[in-house]
Subunit: 212 residues, 2 copies
């Protein structure tokens, strides 16, 4: 296994997609697949697939293809699925609720351990088997549980102050739905921004192009 440093972000961003397709293949009882078959299924070229997977060390064997289960496990290991990180979520509005109810954190490398909201009226309610806590409890909770990742489902205006507190509490990474530019103010933390609006505008672009 090669050391997976200096891999470009586009390659990294394709890994979860490989992981999903391999899971489906595994579920359908497929044990071996050629890069050509995998490429047809995923809409990539076979050489792209070989190149991507070579970045992480040689998986396949020439003329033999990839062992589905082995490749699935190995990509899972690279993605950190074997060693879940504790995470908390802030902001239990519609978006926060949808994230808690729809996202299987456990199968994506995280363990969701706490929910927080600024609205004290929500305190004591539960969501997905976790109690909703007041933001006032953040520091104490983090001292006890040591979460390393925070999901931000809060408005942009509320984010700068809360991020400041979270970083002081030992949070090292953010899954950020808030549109606040965390990385600009905190270059030391890891940030994955979710801008669903960008995806919608891309769709608009693609439709406009097809009309031309």
């Amino acid at each position: 296994m090669a050391k997976e440093s200096n891999i470009s972000m586009p390659v990294i961003r394709r890994l979860p997609r490989y992981y999903r397709f391999l899971y489906d293949l595994k579920e359908n009882g497929v044990t071996r697949i050629s890069s050509r078959e995998l490429s047809q299924r995923m809409g990539l070229t076979a050489s792209q697939i070989r190149q991507d997977l070579n970045c992480f060390g040689g998986f396949g064997q020439q003329g033999y293809g990839y062992m589905v289960n082995q490749l699935y496990e190995e990509i899972g290991r690279i993605l950190g699925m074997h060693c879940p990180t504790k995470a908390i979520l802030l902001g239990v509005g519609n978006l926060g609720k949808a994230v808690v109810n729809h996202m299987n954190f456990a199968s994506r490398g995280f363990q969701l351990v706490g929910l927080f909201d600024g609205n004290v009226a929500l305190e004591g309610q539960t969501l997905g088997e976790l109690p909703i806590r007041s933001n006032n409890e953040l520091e104490q909770f983090c001292q006890q549980e040591h979460p390393e990742m925070a999901v931000l489902c809060i408005p942009k205006e509320a984010a700068p102050h809360l991020v400041e507190r979270l970083v002081a509490c030992g949070i090292k990474a953010f899954w950020n739905f808030s549109h606040y530019d965390i990385a600009y103010d905190h270059p030391e933390v890891i940030v994955e921004n979710v801008h669903m609006g960008d995806s919608l505008m891309t769709l608009s672009y693609l439709m406009t192009q097809k009309d031309l």
Copy 2:
């Protein structure tokens, strides 16, 4: 203005980001910006920015920079913001509710005109000022309103049959949260998949790498 065909997807996917940053600059009263300043703000290189924007025809002037408002308007035009497309949304569960409440369709090139759900108990309720309709009304509604885009917030299992019906109803593009691989069965339609789990796994990867 150059014709914007054959532009690579990575460049296209950066356009909404430029659009967001330019909007913020505009709101903050900035009228002119150099590619160097824009690059610092966006975390890209200045040459990357010049290269990206050159794909769409020469915007800036050497030594003078970009006019913020003009560039904002032009990128908006390229993204199809000037001519909104009618859209419907299927599946008004937690995820559908979050999308309707959080997503400003109007400022992203779409006009949300109808909500549908398979659960007849929801019929007649409203969300974001739109009534929730039964899936049984799909055909009639589409005949009258001619939506061209559908947002799928439905489970994977329900998707193949509904997509079949929607394509027959004249839907040409999908914003797809369902994890059903539409493009594989319907290569003729435009699909923008949203896989939030991929984003979460990427974050897991980045955290794993930093630990190494």
